[in-house]
């Protein structure tokens, strides 16, 4: 791991107490760029917050402040490394191999890299060690095998009208153009069968921005930017701005991958720079053919301004993929709430499986991640099925189980307590029921109150730190027709669903529901339990892998990531059981 020009191996005992590297450069590049004269900035963290250096329990992270000359030299070196990057299927095969090896190393209890990450990342981010460990163990739940197929899709303008198959990938895809007349125009002009995408200019340089404290955003951007080789493109030079709030996870995983295969990301630099450093930021944005920004809405607006400025000076303006602040939800259909349903393999009642997996979707990243489900909509099943209260009671049981296996991070409890107090007071209305206790580090509430838009919005904003509101609905269509309509479309992300019957595929009814959700801004629909493990072949905030190498009309994709939802739920449950992941107690 590069510390200065002298190579310092993180596995070295002495290095255990050095500042950790909150950046990553390929080894050969780092040896050329970094020197004893390199100036470093550092930040110290404890319990997820910046602290004074030397504070007990504090973890210090540093990153280099490069001069403009060094940046330009860096660009030359990364460009020179591009031919080494494997192309096409070779890239995926070698990446999977490297990740398997990395995963094997991480699973060794005495692996010093694992130990250091499990010590440092919780201190830096505030998330608990078991949460971080589960993520490391679950890296291979992100299916890379599907990624090459995603680049061979050929969606047409038909996708603006109806769900389209994904050519060998499970699920469906639909496109929602920003121009509301696009669909009609396509029909009138007879263009519906024309391709949606047109080739974009070659992507010679990608600039990414990975913000927030959920580990791995920079890594995700690196994966996606590099995956353009699957489309037959040359690998780009990739600069990624690391998050100050979580600067080491991506760096260390890239380092671990490099130890297995030094070519995979030899064209990538993960560094930190100041957004307000206008000369540097301006230079980077001018180099970029593609900009991927996962950041707050305010930061994205700032970057967008920079992109516009760079665009005005360029003959080949960059494409800008923005991933801002998002909400995700869960929707539980009455078909899975019928009494008597159970997993034939384990005997576990289906309602418990659904509640457990839905709880996982809310618990991962303590709802501070965009993917974390904030509210669970539940279609009441009548006399033959379980009620919202029944579900909420089971949800509470499983949230309590997960609290011991995946403890909440070191985030303020006061906010959680305030939510508890507020909802407890609301029990006086007779329409609210609190299922957890004051001392629990989570809150489960069943809220039947009709809510004005402002109140609904406020209640969602309160769903942080494991506050889950179960909202009964008479019909699942209330979810898009009323609730999602109240929210800004640009702030909606995933919907985790529990619907269907054993052996049943995607029904017309479900596709109609999914289309309505997509029309409101939901961009990814997956089954419960998969919320924290998005599949790279599908939509990420309305963008699919083809968007990395192609152009299309403005709008968003919505993808459904499964064919048989009921069976997928059971598959997910059994997968988690099999892997252990420290989560499941069969029969709980």
């Amino acid at each position: 791991m590069q510390n200065t020009a002298d190579h310092v191996n993180i596995r070295d005992e002495e290095a255990q107490h050095s500042p950790l590297n909150g950046f990553w450069l390929p080894k050969d590049v780092g040896e050329r760029i970094l020197s004893p004269d390199t100036v470093y900035q550092s930040e110290c963290y404890v319990a997820g917050r910046p602290c004074h250096e030397g504070q007990v329990g504090g973890i210090t992270v540093h990153w280099p402040s490069l001069t403009m000359t060094s940046w330009q030299e860096l660009q030359v070196l990364l460009q020179a490394n591009r031919p080494r990057v494997p192309r096409g299927k070779s890239f995926i095969d070698r990446l999977q191999y490297a990740l398997e090896r990395v995963g094997q190393n991480f699973s060794k209890p005495n692996d010093p890299l694992q130990a250091r990450l499990l010590e440092a990342v919780p201190s830096i981010t505030g998330f608990s060690s078991p949460m971080i460990a589960s993520t490391l163990e679950g890296l291979d739940l992100v299916n890379l095998e599907q990624l090459p197929q995603a680049f061979t899709l050929t969606p047409t303008l038909l996708a603006t009208d109806s769900w389209q198959s994904m050519d060998g990938l499970p699920g469906r895809l639909r496109f929602y153009p920003h121009n509301p007349w696009q669909g009609l125009l396509n029909r009138v002009t007879g263009k519906r069968s024309q391709p949606l995408f047109q080739p974009a200019s070659p992507t010679g340089c990608v600039v990414g921005f990975g913000a927030g404290n959920v580990p791995g955003t920079a890594l995700l951007i690196a994966f996606m930017a590099q995956a353009t080789v699957l489309a037959g493109a040359d690998p780009p030079v990739i600069f990624i701005r690391n998050s100050r709030l979580e600067p080491i996870f991506s760096a260390y995983v890239l380092e671990a991958i490099q130890e297995v295969d030094a070519d995979l990301f030899c064209n990538v630099a993960v560094l930190t720079w100041d957004y307000k450093d206008n000369p540097l930021q301006g230079w980077l944005l001018q180099q970029a053919d593609l900009i991927i920004a996962a950041a707050s809405d305010e930061t994205i607006a700032q970057i967008r301004t920079g992109v516009e400025t760079a665009k005005s000076k360029s003959t080949n303006p960059a494409r800008f993929h923005a991933h801002g602040h998002k909400f995700s939800f869960s929707a539980i259909g009455k078909s899975v709430l019928q009494k008597g349903l159970h997993d034939p393999l384990t005997g576990q009642p289906l309602i418990d499986i659904v509640a457990l997996l839905a709880a996982l979707d809310s618990v991962f990243w303590d709802q501070y991640g965009c993917l974390s489900s904030r509210g669970h909509f539940l279609e009441e099943a009548g006399e033959t099925g379980y009620s919202a209260s029944d579900y909420a009671a089971r949800l509470e049981t499983h949230m309590r189980l997960l609290a011991s296996h995946l403890p909440r991070g070191s985030f303020p409890l006061q906010r959680l307590h305030d939510s508890f107090d507020r909802y407890k007071q609301l029990e006086a209305t007779g329409q609210v029921q609190v299922f957890s206790h004051y001392n629990d580090e989570f809150l489960v509430v069943c809220d039947r109150r009709p809510l004005a838009p402002e109140s609904f919005y406020k209640s969602l904003n309160d769903c942080l730190g494991r506050v889950v509101i179960v909202r009964p609905v008479a019909n699942l269509m209330e979810v898009p027709d009323y609730y999602l309509r109240l929210l800004p479309a640009a702030n909606l992300q995933s919907l985790s669903v529990a619907v269907g019957r054993s052996g049943q595929g995607l029904t017309e009814e479900f596709l109609h529901f999914a289309a309505a959700c997509g029309g409101r801004g939901i961009t990814a629909i997956r089954t419960v339990g998969r919320g924290a493990f998005p599949q790279l072949a599908y939509s990420w905030d309305g963008l699919i892998p083809l968007d990395l190498v192609s152009q299309r009309p403005e709008g968003n994709f919505t993808t459904i990531e499964f064919e048989q939802p009921y069976d997928k739920i059971l598959e997910t449950y059994r997968l988690f059981l099999k892997r252990g992941m420290g989560l499941m107690n069969n029969g709980d």
Partner: protein
């Protein structure tokens, strides 16, 4: 922190209602620190028991937290209710920030907040709907006139008012509290003329208490002035704040018509009138050689200073005069506080050449006390208030000098209507916290006891955490 044995062995201070006549507020300046602490902790425990038995809202809240009628020392943090929520909970429970739309439900909510029984059947005397919050609150006061209830609100600049009740007993206690603080920290006597840049008629709690308290000091009625020419009804304040409007057509009228009109009126008539009236009074005080207390918001005081500057006037006041302010800068204002003070001192001076005292006060609608700024610019919390800071998990910070959310227990001055145990929305640096066992560090001004360090008060309604892409 707490001498449990002492608490158990000591005679009860009171029977019921809590602490009535047991201890005078002024006595607290004579107690030793240990005496004070034990008395306060015992009083908190007794007040809790008393209110637990009688106050439905309080009992439900603390019982859900696992607290019963008798408390242990470690229960103290769980007695605290947030000022940001407690007397605004009608919004969640009624489902609307406009209680005038459902007055009967509102009255039930109000009754639940009180530790006295009010006859709920009188709810039938309420209309089914009221045109404004002011008319609703006035009618509630009328219906319960025999209880001597007065309903006050917060400043309402957020558009969502805190609504709370005081009776004559709690008003008297608050007046006493403010009066003692005025005397001790502002050295006010009955020979001041008091000018408030406020409306004479307002439900805003701090306004009412400040004006009542100067009367308690002994200043005669004809020496107390209010220079804002219009009353501040809660709905007018809400509309002018421009954050919360009624739904539907009425909201459109409020947003498109009333808000711009009020803003224009404020800018072109109300504020200039208030400034002119204030200056006229300043000149009168100057000519009479009287001592002056001028009290107003920072923005209002600054407007007076700017007008005096503009017209090239300087006001010379008798020694002992002072300016007072409170409430902080709630809205964005281009001029920072130090510059406002400097502008004021350029145009208002003391005839003996001394620095014009400009004292800030810190308080809130839910508190029956205010912390006055001393000569060292720190804010002294009255000694009958048990003050602590809380960490982000709601636990006491036991350091003698700490930064955290301010929380307080006011078992003596709080009155019998609700327990005055609150967690504020203000992050402060508190010195001599009651959660600390360390010896007290006197303020440079010479006062002992808890104080909030100058320039440390920061309003924090929410503590935001980074999300997956929320921050850099």
């Amino acid at each position: 922190m707490v001498d449990q044995q002492f608490l158990e062995e000591a005679e009860p201070l009171v029977t019921a209602p809590p602490l009535a006549g047991a201890v005078r507020l002024v006595d607290f300046w004579t107690f030793t620190p240990d005496q004070r602490r034990v008395i306060l902790q015992k009083a908190i425990a007794e007040a809790h028991t008393w209110h637990f038995e009688r106050n439905l809202s309080y009992r439900n809240t603390v019982a859900a937290r696992g607290v019963g009628p008798m408390i242990h020392p470690e229960d103290l943090p769980r007695l605290l209710r947030p000022t940001a929520q407690t007397f605004k909970s009608y919004i969640d429970i009624l489902g609307t920030p406009f209680p005038s739309d459902c007055p009967r439900l509102f009255l039930n909510w109000l009754a639940d907040q009180l530790s006295i029984e009010i006859p709920r059947q009188r709810v039938d005397q309420l209309r089914s709907r009221y045109g404004s919050l002011e008319t609703l609150l006035s009618d509630c006061e009328r219906i319960f006139a025999d209880f001597g209830l007065e309903i006050s609100t917060s400043s309402g600049t957020s558009g969502r008012s805190t609504i709370m009740v005081r009776d004559q007993d709690s008003i008297n206690k608050t007046v006493e509290s403010f009066y003692l603080a005025f005397q001790r920290y502002l050295e006010m006597q009955a020979d001041h003329r008091a000018v408030f840049i406020m409306p004479r008629k307002a439900r805003i709690a701090m306004v009412r208490m400040a004006s009542f308290s100067v009367k308690r000091v002994g200043i005669p009625d004809d020496h107390i002035h209010f220079t804002i020419p219009f009353p501040a009804a809660p709905d007018m304040v809400r509309i002018r704040a421009g954050r919360t409007y009624r739904p539907g057509l009425q909201g459109i009228i409020e947003r498109r018509l009333l808000n711009p009109f009020m803003t224009w009126m404020n800018e072109h008539y109300v504020n200039p009138q208030a400034v002119q009236r204030t200056i006229k009074l300043l000149k009168h005080v100057q000519s009479q050689g009287e001592k002056l207390l001028l009290f107003g918001g920072w923005v209002q005081l600054h407007a007076v200073a700017l007008e005096l500057q503009r017209t090239g006037q300087i006001i010379r006041l008798a020694p002992g005069s002072l300016l007072g302010s409170g409430g902080g800068l709630k809205e964005h204002y281009a001029t920072p506080l130090p510059a406002i003070r400097a502008d004021l001192r350029r145009v208002i001076i003391l005839t003996n050449g001394d620095f014009l005292p400009i004292k800030d006060t810190y308080g809130m609608a839910e508190g029956n006390w205010a912390a006055m700024q001393c000569s060292s610019a720190n804010y002294h919390i009255p000694p009958w208030v048990y003050a602590v800071t809380l960490d982000e998990n709601g636990s006491f910070i036991s350091k003698p000098d700490s930064e955290g959310l301010l929380a307080f227990y006011d078992p003596f001055g709080g009155g019998k209507l609700f327990p005055a145990f609150f967690r504020t929305a203000d992050r402060v640096r508190l010195v001599n916290s009651d959660a600390s066992d360390y010896p007290a560090q006197p303020c440079p001004c010479g006062e002992s006891g808890a104080y909030i360090a100058q320039d440390s008060i920061q309003r924090v309604d929410l503590i935001e955490e980074a999300g997956c892409a929320a921050q850099t």
